[in-house]
């Protein structure tokens, strides 16, 4: 039986009924990984032994009828989540030898519910990139066409779920790193409200923007696992003081009479005709389901990219200072003195994109530039957030493309950082405002998938998933899988 074809909830049902064991399910994924990942490079580490022993433990619990809520379901974790005793590299040479001494809250929560870790997925170095080409462990390929990129920074998570090497994967999103690869790989990816998912043990890129989430094959699958990852964590001071939300019970409620906002600033932009066509078709689906379409204005939305490229590098310049070769991770050979140790460790341990952002951030925070750059960016960030607050007074969700187009060829944008940064033009605003956003497949072009983005009001993940699920209940874009 091709267990990997089943949805996550069907897999859970099968495990609970005893139709198959977690060991069978896990082995099937492990076999697929060893068979197919050679061409994709979506995993940095495959934790085969650990996975099989976790699976066996789950099977034992099922036998004794004292199983956990998600017992025996396999999952892949982005290599940004610390996992005790397992290599946690963040896609960097700097941490290429780093075995985490503790586990992230996200890992712990899913582990306690019985989920089986298949391995750690490849990613752009320190989550900086939109094509998964900045990883020290080599680029990840898009299963739809291996000459194309899977998107980034959670490219490994998207690629492995798309190729059905894992039923679902954790991911993180600072400016679009869940939604953009989900869009480019034909998947459902959700970034919840800032503070929903604990950042403890999730290696920091830009603390005020980073948020954990999942990349899945459907909104239904995503809801099941995002729910289990969420909830207040006393170890993360920015975590919201809210219990684990119920994200599944609202999925099947009709969206009739609800309002979808279309930001005119996005649609005024020059948009590829095939993108516009797919979005218009999706809008028609929603109309047919009884939703009302409203044009809205997010007047400051076009400031988002420049705001982001001040704040994210500024925070990263401090967050990445700890990688100095003193306590763990990469250390240069034979340092002359402490200055040399710092300088050469960082020179040799970081890749070009990471260095570029550290430099930008350091510059933006420097005496004399702070007010003009960082402080101004923070003020503008508030303006963007205010636009959303205003918009959500009249609409339930905001719809747009997730990305300017389908995937692009490996190497196509690597020499033009600004062109690469434009990948996130639709996704960044939700991070600046701390709002939940998701991407679901809504079309294809030249054999490559394309996604649309839905952004919701603060804490309204449930409504977002409801919109996504009702679309997926009436279309089959999310059912299309690459031939690999």
């Amino acid at each position: 039986m091709d267990l990997h074809k089943l949805s996550l909830s069907k897999q859970l049902e099968g495990l609970q009924k005893g139709d198959f064991t977690s060991t069978e399910l896990t082995s099937q994924y492990l076999n697929r990984i060893s068979e197919l990942d050679g061409q994709l490079n979506s995993f940095i580490t495959v934790t085969e032994d650990q996975a099989l022993s976790q699976a066996k433990a789950a099977d034992d619990r099922y036998k004794k009828n004292n199983n956990f809520s998600l017992d025996g379901l396999p999952i892949a974790h982005k290599d940004i989540f610390c996992t005790k005793g397992v290599l946690t590299t963040c896609g960097s040479k700097m941490l290429s030898n780093f075995e985490a001494p503790y586990s992230s809250t996200v890992y712990d929560k899913l582990d306690k519910k019985g989920m089986v870790m298949l391995g750690k997925t490849n990613m752009d170095e320190f989550a900086m990139g939109s094509s998964n080409e900045t990883s020290y462990f080599g680029p990840v390929k898009n299963p739809w066409n291996i000459e194309y990129v899977p998107g980034g920074s959670s490219g490994g998570s998207a690629s492995c779920v798309s190729a059905e090497l894992a039923p679902i994967a954790t991911a993180t999103d600072t400016g679009g790193s869940i939604r953009q690869p989900a869009s480019l790989c034909g998947l459902t990816g959700i970034k919840p409200t800032y503070g929903r998912v604990s950042r403890y043990g999730m290696i920091a890129f830009a603390s005020s923007l980073d948020q954990g989430g999942v990349i899945a094959k459907s909104a239904e699958d995503a809801a099941l696992i995002l729910e289990a990852m969420s909830g207040h964590d006393p170890k993360d001071s920015t975590s919201l003081k809210l219990d684990q939300p119920d994200l599944t019970n609202n999925l099947n409620n009709p969206i009739k009479g609800m309002k979808i906002g279309l930001p005119k600033e996005f649609f005024e932009k020059e948009m590829a005709p095939y993108v516009l066509k797919s979005i218009e078709e999706a809008i028609e689906v929603y109309k047919s389901l009884g939703a009302e379409i409203v044009e809205i204005s997010l007047g400051n939305i076009n400031l988002s990219l420049p705001i982001y490229y001040i704040i994210a590098p500024a925070e990263c310049s401090a967050n990445l200072s700890r990688y100095d070769g003193v306590r763990y991770g990469y250390r240069c050979e034979d340092p002359k003195d402490i200055e040399d140790l710092f300088m050469r460790t960082r020179e040799e341990g970081f890749g070009a994109e990471v260095k570029r952002r550290i430099l930008i951030g350091t510059y933006a925070l420097s005496a004399g530039y702070y007010d003009a750059f960082y402080l101004k960016a923070q003020k503008c960030r508030q303006l963007v957030a205010n636009d959303f607050i205003e918009a959500f007074k009249s609409v339930d969700v905001i719809l747009s493309p997730t990305t300017p187009g389908t995937s692009f060829k490996s190497g196509e944008k690597t020499n033009d950082p600004v062109e690469m940064y434009l990948q996130d033009i639709f996704t960044i605003p939700a991070n600046l405002a701390g709002l939940p956003g998701l991407s679901i497949p809504c079309g294809e072009h030249n054999g490559l998938p394309l996604g649309m983005q839905l952004v919701g009001n603060s804490l309204e993940e449930s409504k977002l998933l409801q919109f996504a699920h009702s679309f997926q209940s009436n279309t089959d874009w999310h059912m299309k899988m690459p031939n690999i």
């Binding site: 946690t88 001494p101 001071s237 920015t238 401090a318 200072s321 700890r322 402490i338 420097s366």
Partner: protein
């Protein structure tokens, strides 16, 4: 003790780092105990492992609120944290979490006593920050070791206005802060262990000049005495430089107590652009009104209040009250002694006299005193009730110090009760007069000074036990006959 010409004045501001005596660190659960084996008290957060996050230890908020009150300052709410970026091997994150725009304590003052009377010193701010680790250079050939036990220990940095003008004022201010933090029990204030550290910003200018001179910051001064000496040295050095036609460089200097000089740190040892920005891992902290009121309800009596009470309640002199109240432990000891002795004045004299001499001798603090407050109180009460004389009491004090015995046991065992029976004293006096006819004759012919000789002889005869007042009275009447 100005060693420079009268037309110069110094302008001094102090930055005092106070290590808060919390059980765990500012942003982690690791212990803050001093003296543990290197790196045994550094958890993943202190080690700045990838992915860890700070969580504020709320105990420090209470401590800071108390200090703010004692410094007559405003408490900022919300108060927020900032990152101060610099690379140093004992700074694990590559930045220190500190406070910039909204320090928890702001705009206060402290009244100090100076040679020229009272003076008010403004307090700019007091902010929370985490301590760094330590670099160890001695035990590793050609390498350095890093001990991160201290990394993340909570500090309050108290910044004064540049309103101090002499080294003595600086010490008075520092001692006053020391007294306050000890009273509030927010720090042990141990300068030798680094629980209280002082950096001095010093500049000089001609008296009457409004513009401030270029200042230097002198670091690493770890005793009251060194603070005075370091500032004195720095003032004289700056005046000498200027008078020799040189300019003062704005720089950080290190005090070397071995040779009593300050010298510039290598320029690399201090960064100049810390690139402060708001700490995104910590939300601004709101201090609710009820929280502040609850904390203030636990404020102890402060040194100034205690001093005033000692004067009004116990009729102590300003001077005695000031000395006793400056140190919380001494003040408490004094009150315990007085409770038993019922004689505040005598208790104060004994504590500042005999007791403090013994403590100094053996380099002990008052909590380590070998004569407890209880025993000292009893000893004084035995003087008061006439059982023993003050002179005998000194001997008994010595005996308690060495043996730890009870006051009354020593008196009984050694038969040291004072002789207060008039008859017995008369007999002794008669014998003395009889044995010294020559002195008697001289006395009676006008040599009054010989009275002391007779007193001495009587006391000697009684082995010091005769009640001196009775001896005086009876002797006087006998000699006059």
């Amino acid at each position: 003790m100005k060693n420079y010409s009268e037309d110069w004045e110094a302008v001094i501001g102090l930055e005092i780092h106070v290590q808060l005596s919390t059980k765990s660190k500012l942003f982690s659960g690791a212990s803050t105990d001093f003296g543990a084996l290197p790196n045994t008290q550094a958890c993943n957060i202190d080690l700045a492992m990838p992915g860890v996050l700070p969580v504020l230890n709320e105990e420090v908020l209470k401590m800071a609120v108390k200090l703010g009150k004692a410094l007559n300052a405003e408490i900022n709410s919300p108060t927020s944290f900032a990152r101060k970026n610099y690379f140093y091997p004992d700074s694990p994150k590559g930045y220190q979490i500190s406070q910039m725009d909204k320090p928890i304590v702001e705009n206060g003052y402290l009244d100090i006593e100076t040679e020229n009377g009272g003076k008010r010193i403004g307090i700019t701010r007091a902010h929370l920050e985490e301590d760094a680790g330590k670099s160890l250079h001695d035990d590793f050939e050609g390498q350095s070791g890093i001990d991160l036990n201290r990394a993340g220990t909570p500090l309050l940095e108290i910044v004064s206005e540049p309103e101090i003008n002499t080294p003595k004022e600086a010490v008075a201010y520092l001692k006053s802060i020391h007294s306050i933090i000890r009273y509030l029990e927010i720090s042990d204030g141990n300068m030798a262990e680094g629980s209280m550290r002082c950096d001095a910003n010093v500049s000089v200018r001609k008296i009457g000049e409004e513009k401030l001179g270029t200042r230097t910051e002198t670091k690493n001064v770890n005793s009251f005495r060194f603070v005075e000496k370091a500032i004195q040295y720095e003032i004289e050095r700056q005046i000498h430089e200027i008078e020799s036609g040189n300019k003062i460089t704005q720089e950080t200097r290190l005090y070397d107590s071995q040779v009593n000089t300050t010298r510039p740190m290598r320029s690399k040892e201090f960064a100049n652009d810390y690139r402060y920005f708001p700490e995104p891992d910590l939300l601004p902290v709101n201090l609710e009104k009820e929280f502040i009121e609850e904390v203030l309800a636990t404020m102890p009596e402060m040194p100034t209040e205690k001093k005033e009470r000692f004067v009004s309640e116990f009729s102590l002199s300003q001077y005695d009250a000031d000395l006793l109240a400056a140190d919380k432990d001494i003040a408490e000891f004094f009150e315990e002694v007085t409770k038993i002795s019922n004689s505040p004045k005598l208790s104060a004299n004994w504590i500042m006299g005999e007791l403090s001499a013994e403590l100094n001798n053996e380099n002990l603090n008052i909590k380590e005193s070998k004569v407890s407050s209880n025993k000292l109180g009893q000893l004084i009460s035995r003087i008061e009730d006439g059982t023993i004389s003050g002179k005998i009491a000194k001997d008994i004090f010595e005996k308690i110090w060495t043996t730890g015995k009870e006051v009354d046991d020593i008196i009984k065992e050694e038969g040291l009760e004072q002789v207060t029976d008039d008859k017995e004293i008369e007999l002794m006096i008669d014998e003395v007069i009889e044995n010294n006819p020559q002195q008697l004759e001289q006395y009676r012919s006008g040599k009054d000074r010989l009275f002391g000789f007779f007193v001495g002889q009587v006391m000697k005869a009684s082995q010091g036990k005769a009640n001196p007042k009775q001896v005086n009275d009876i002797l006087k009447s006998k000699l006059e006959k």
